[in-house]
């Protein structure tokens, strides 16, 4: 495996494609910017897939982002063994939750003909990608423990070196294959992200919490029209 390509070049390709296509898709095909819900077609099993998956992945992803943004905080939290253990166990629990949710989602989409009807090849592609990601993640957590610490000391500097446009893969080149697969797969998911239903993550409706309750739209300036008619 050519480490430099996978760990030093692929991330740039992924981020570039991600930015270009998400923006283009939003501007040209805003209509397609959502996830095609199947709850309407199958409402019994939906809960057991969607809810554990989403809560699980939000926490796990949040942990990864935290480790990237403030590695020092994580490391100082981890100085006490008990606290390290709490962090690890929490991470693992939510990862398992994600896996259970994802498995339920995939089984449900296979089992119910109506749900199958609205599942595309792109969906399967992304489900498989996520499955690989979650399974390798859990395997890493089990085999190479204390990931919250070594992530902060090795992966974070590498990620920052990417951000600074001077990729330094020496931090992670000696890592075990499993970890590399996890990393490369993550960037592959990012690469296909803008072409799939995952774009719905980018349109979380935060303005709802502070907008006015009712929305009224005028298509003309009333006062002006009135004047020109008078």
């Amino acid at each position: 495996m050519n480490d430099y390509f996978w760990l030093g070049t692929l991330p740039y390709i992924s981020v570039f494609v991600f930015l270009l296509v998400t923006i283009r898709r939003y501007r040209i095909r805003a209509f397609s910017y959502s996830s095609l819900s199947s709850q309407f077609l199958e409402n019994q099993q939906h809960f057991w897939g969607s809810v554990p998956f989403h809560y699980g992945i939000l926490v796990v992803l949040g942990g990864h982002i935290l480790g990237f943004l403030c590695p020092k905080a994580i490391l100082s939290w981890n100085v006490a063994p008990l606290r390290l253990l709490v962090l690890e166990v929490t991470g693992l629990a939510f990862a398992v939750l994600t896996l259970v949710g994802l498995a339920n989602i995939m089984i449900r989409r296979l089992r119910f003909p109506k749900a199958r009807r609205v599942t595309t090849a792109g969906d399967w592609f992304i489900y498989c990608g996520l499955l690989v990601q979650v399974v390798t993640g859990i395997a890493i957590a089990v085999h190479y423990g204390w990931g919250s610490s070594w992530y902060s000391t090795s992966l974070t500097p590498w990620l920052w070196s990417l951000v600074k446009f001077s990729p330094d893969i020496s931090y992670i080149a000696p890592m075990p294959l499993l970890v590399k697969v996890h990393i490369v797969n993550a960037f592959l998911i990012l690469l296909v992200f803008p072409f799939t239903r995952l774009v719905h993550i980018l349109v979380v409706p935060n303005p709802y919490l502070w907008r006015k309750t009712q929305v009224v739209i005028w298509n003309w300036d009333r006062k002006k029209i009135r004047k020109s008619a008078d």
Binding site: L41, F47, V51, V215
Partner: protein, 487 residues
């Protein structure tokens, strides 16, 4: 909008007109933006009036107004799975028939049949429900008995309504009410739903809808629908392309019973919130209060100051809706207690009184030809639950006046009722002979121009001046610049 229920013959022409124009695409196959249900009955989707399970509309404690389904604080925990979300089973699974089997079946001893197949999966299904499955099934154990509006009735009244020789029913055609306080709009996390300022039509921007589907439980009338194929919600658009060119919406235009009236009203939007806090039985009056008198010089002045065009004020003055609603107080909102202030009003049905047969002679049980509204076959409490938020006074007023108009017209045309008696009936119902004649004319003889007084919006011109109509298409709730393909 006004629907005159005494005139609806339950022919479903309106539903079919709408379906052919707007919802014959994949994903919309199960939607009926206009549907006609039989009351008492469970309706479409099944038991839509049961807000304990669907969580539609607003609730108030007298001080605050909150959505029953997804208030801003409740949306976060429910975001990945909203338990109040209806599923296709609550409506029905759309189906078609394998017609080609009729032609392609090999020769044999049996007639070939066209089996029903699901329009979702294409597989064979046993059809168990449809959009009007309870049609004319009043008194049935499955449908009528489960009508949510029966809940308030006592045992005796319930038994009465189910008794075979007393069965009565009426039709209830329903479209989106284009409410003044729409809960669908308030519930949309993406801000995709909006009310148009010019004409009050509630639309859903297809480009901004992100399939949260919050509008679907939130609308107490279940008049926003989820398109399972495009993953976007859709709703009645009141045929705005027709309205903008001076034509009535397709369902109004095609109505065989000529029960439908449409025009614009002037109203005071600032009062909505405050009035929505009132108790149930005051809401009918509150909504009427919000609607302003278009002949009042002060109102005209204020409207002009707010940029309302003369043409629009003129149609408001000629509005048949205003007459039914404010002048005669005959029209009532459906389930006003949901507090969305629906802008579709119903003239309640005057159900026939009991009659019985003795030998070959049909006899009215009451001496009077038209009987007594208190003895009508559908208990007044039942209608009160549907149309006046339990305020029976408002309902009696509307029914009594309709009855008085019939008595008066009987005197005028047949003459077997004395003038004194007819006049007394009118006086008792707070009506004059002139008003009675006008009610009669607008109810029975109204032409297209009387029923549809459409304001001159000339909206398409305004849009053309401001932006590219092609770009505009997708934000108006129907149509899109791209094929609705998903990836």
């Amino acid at each position: 909008m006004v629907f005159h229920l005494d005139k609806c013959i339950g022919c479903h022409t309106c539903s079919v007109a709408c379906k052919n124009v707007w919802t014959d695409r994949e994903g919309t196959d199960y939607m009926w933006w206009n549907n006609v249900e039989t009351k008492p009955g469970t309706g479409y989707p099944t038991k839509w009036e049961d807000q304990d399970s669907y969580k539609g509309g607003w609730v108030t404690d007298g001080e605050d107004l909150e959505l029953r389904s997804t208030s801003k604080s409740k949306i976060i925990p429910n975001i990945f799975h909203n338990p109040a979300q209806p599923s296709m089973d609550d409506y029905y699974e759309p189906w078609t028939y394998k017609y080609e089997d009729l032609f392609n079946a090999p020769e044999g001893d049996d007639q070939p049949t066209a089996r029903p197949v699901s329009m979702v999966t294409g597989e064979h299904i046993d059809v168990e429900a449809g959009p009007n499955w309870d049609d004319d099934l009043s008194g049935s154990e499955v449908y009528a008995k489960n009508d949510v509006n029966m809940d308030g009735l006592n045992q005796e009244q319930r038994a009465q309504m189910m008794a075979i020789e007393r069965l009565a029913f009426f039709y209830l055609p329903r479209i989106c009410n284009h409410c003044l306080n729409p809960s669908c709009v308030a519930a949309c996390p993406s801000g995709a739903l909006y009310k148009r300022g010019e004409d009050g039509i509630v639309l859903l921007n297809q480009d901004r809808c992100r399939a949260w589907r919050s509008c679907i439980p939130a609308c107490p009338y279940k008049k926003t629908y989820f398109n399972w194929s495009t993953g976007k919600s859709e709703k009645c658009i009141l045929c705005f392309p027709r309205l903008e060119t001076g034509q009535a919406p397709a369902c109004f235009h095609s109505c065989v019973g000529r029960i439908r009236y449409i025009s614009n009203l002037l109203y005071d939007a600032d009062k909505i919130r405050e009035l929505a806090l009132l108790p149930d039985d005051q809401l009918v009056e509150a909504q009427r209060e919000m609607i302003l008198d278009p002949h009042d010089p002060a109102v005209i002045e204020a409207a002009k100051k707010n940029g309302v065009h003369d043409g629009i004020i003129r149609t408001a003055q000629k509005s048949p809706v205003y007459k039914f609603l404010k002048e005669w107080k005959l029209a009532l909102p459906l389930h006003v207690e949901y507090r969305t202030f629906p802008m579709l009003f119903y003239v309640p049905p005057l159900l026939p009184v009991m009659s019985s047969t003795q030998g070959d002679v049909v006899r009215n049980e009451v001496d009077e030809l038209f009987g007594d509204i208190e003895k009508a076959r559908a208990p007044i409490e039942y209608l009160g639950k549907m149309f006046t938020g339990g305020n029976l006074g408002k309902l009696r007023y509307a029914l009594r006046k309709q009855l008085a108009v019939r008595i008066w017209r009987r005197f005028v045309t047949v003459g077997d009722i004395s003038e004194d008696k007819a006049k007394a009936a009118l006086a008792e119902a707070d009506c004059t002979p002139e008003a009675a004649d006008e009610i009669y004319r607008l109810s029975a003889l109204a032409t297209f121009d009387d029923r549809f007084v459409i304001p001159p919006f000339q909206r398409e011109m305004a849009i053309e001046m401001l932006e590219d109509p092609h770009d505009h298409r997708s934000i108006t709730g129907f149509g899109s610049r791209m094929a609705p393909k998903r990836s």
